[in-house]
């Protein structure tokens, strides 16, 4: 991988970590976006997009209410997409999804640590012991820590991918078609969770069926 690609993907990891909670929340941090942009940097946007979409299906059903601890799939999707592009085919997609989900757990643990760090940074604020002007510096420090966290997960993941791609090449045991079937079957579970969170039981069944039938028609006979 070119040094420029490392630089761009590291910067994307930092942006994704910042955008996830701390700064903006424009959803640049979604795996669909980070996966696709990684694909663009590595010359295969379609694989990056598809990998990002699979990671979305796996994570969309989890709603970040209050202080709930969740995985952080945004920065994780960068090395995951790199693995999918590097290996290619359904094998790359399956292993990329697995790596993305595992790294998202690491990222999620990092978010917990970040929140604890923030707690220490604002200690004494409610009691008036920390001055308002000092808070600007603490906020900058928190953002720096957040960005560093994103860079660390991304670059460590990319280093792992670069080492493992040659070793994994040709090792995936299942044929292309079966791999897709198994991967989609496994992802059907979080998709069910997502369906439940989207709508109540009465409207859900009819809408799912309608969408499924229209989609199947498009899938079989092509999109006009």
């Amino acid at each position: 991988m070119e040094p420029l690609a490392w630089l761009l993907l590291g910067a994307l990891g930092a942006w994704a970590a910042l955008d996830g909670v701390a700064a903006g929340q424009f959803m640049v941090s979604r795996p669909l976006v980070t996966g696709s942009l990684t694909g663009v940097v590595l010359g295969d946007p379609w694989t990056g997009f598809l990998l990002g979409l699979l990671l979305e299906i796996a994570h969309l059903g989890a709603v970040p209410t209050g202080g709930v601890r969740l995985p952080e799939p945004g920065p994780a999707a960068i090395p995951a997409a790199a693995l999918a592009v590097g290996l290619g085919g359904a094998a790359g997609m399956a292993l990329g999804t697995a790596l993305g989900m595992l790294l998202a757990l690491v990222g999620g643990a990092g978010v917990v640590l970040q929140r604890r760090l923030n707690g220490r940074l604002v200690e004494g604020l409610e009691e008036g012991a920390l001055s308002p002007s000092a808070l600007n510096g603490r906020l900058a420090l928190s953002l720096l820590a957040e960005a560093s966290r994103g860079v660390a997960v991304t670059l460590a993941g990319l280093a792992l991918v670069l080492r493992s791609v040659p070793a994994l090449q040709g090792r995936w045991p299942l044929p292309e078609e079966v791999t897709w079937a198994v991967l989609l079957a496994l992802l059907a579970y979080p998709a069910g969770v997502l369906a439940r969170s989207l709508a109540g039981p009465r409207s859900r069944t009819a809408l799912l069926a309608a969408g499924g039938l229209i989609g199947m028609a498009f899938g079989i006979w092509g999109v006009p």
């Binding site: 701390a22 929340q25 604002v122 808070l135 579970y189 069910g192 069926a209 969408g211 199947m216």
Partner: protein, 249 residues
């Protein structure tokens, strides 16, 4: 000027999110310039107001502007400590649940799924992603601006425009669109598979996986979020399990 400054600062309202005060420290940071303006050269008044707003608080980040705008207005109106406390307590629950229901549980999934459908239908991936970001942020930024505006305009009476906005009803409708898009995405995926390799039967692996997928989908649908907890661990373990078993087989 106050409105724009609040909106811009609100982009970092969660930067100091922590388990003790949740959004409190961020909210105080957002309000600081407004408080400074009101206090003028009275340093003690400024510090006291700042400390007051740094206390425990939570809301959906996109609707935190409702709280920030209202609190800035209440400060301007010279309300007392007790009013602030009661007002913050009263606002916390609705601003969290309204935002979570509309944005995290409906708008975000619907936008992602729409982008996925567009990509699978043949749109260039980058365009599908740009479309997602534009559509999503249209509502996101509107909500931030609207929240600050009604907060500053209505102050203590902000509950009325919030109730009139019908955000809950919108969340329900967007959820319907989301579930339709999920069905569409699944349909396109299966349809393409059938078109490429014919209808799977229970005798082949793809057919068995399809049945397994339908069962797992039903299980997820039945159990909902309560069962999501182990998904991030079990799913990659299952994929890696296939690799390991296959390597030894």
């Amino acid at each position: 000027v106050t409105e724009l400054r609040l909106i811009l600062r609100l982009l970092l309202v969660q930067a100091l999110w922590n388990y003790r005060t949740l959004l409190g420290a961020g909210l105080a940071w957002v309000l600081a310039p407004s408080l400074r303006e009101l206090a003028g050269r009275e340093e003690d008044r400024f510090k006291e107001a700042f400390r007051r707003h740094a206390e425990h608080f939570n809301a959906h980040p996109y609707l935190a502007g409702v709280a920030a705008g209202s609190l800035a207005r209440l400060e301007r109106d010279g309300e007392g400590e007790e009013t602030f406390r009661r007002f913050r307590d009263a606002l916390r629950g609705p601003l969290g649940s309204l935002g979570d229901g509309l944005i995290w549980a409906a708008w975000l999934p619907a936008c992602v799924l729409a982008s996925g459908v567009a990509g699978l239908a043949g749109a260039p991936p980058l365009w599908a992603v740009v479309g997602f970001l534009v559509a999503y942020n249209l509502l996101h930024l509107t909500l931030r601006w609207w929240g600050v505006s009604i907060g500053l305009a209505f102050g203590k009476g902000v509950g009325a425009p919030l109730a009139r906005s019908g955000l809950q009803r919108w969340a329900e409708r967007v959820g319907w669109v989301g579930v339709l898009l999920l069905g569409l995405l699944a349909g396109v995926t299966f349809g393409r598979g059938f078109a490429a390799s014919g209808l799977p039967t229970s005798a082949d692996v793809v057919g068995t996986a399809t049945i397994l997928g339908l069962l797992l989908f039903g299980l997820g649908l039945w159990r909902g979020r309560a069962a999501w907890g182990w998904t991030p661990v079990m799913l990659p373990v299952a994929i890696l399990g296939v690799l390991v078993v296959g390597a030894f087989a």
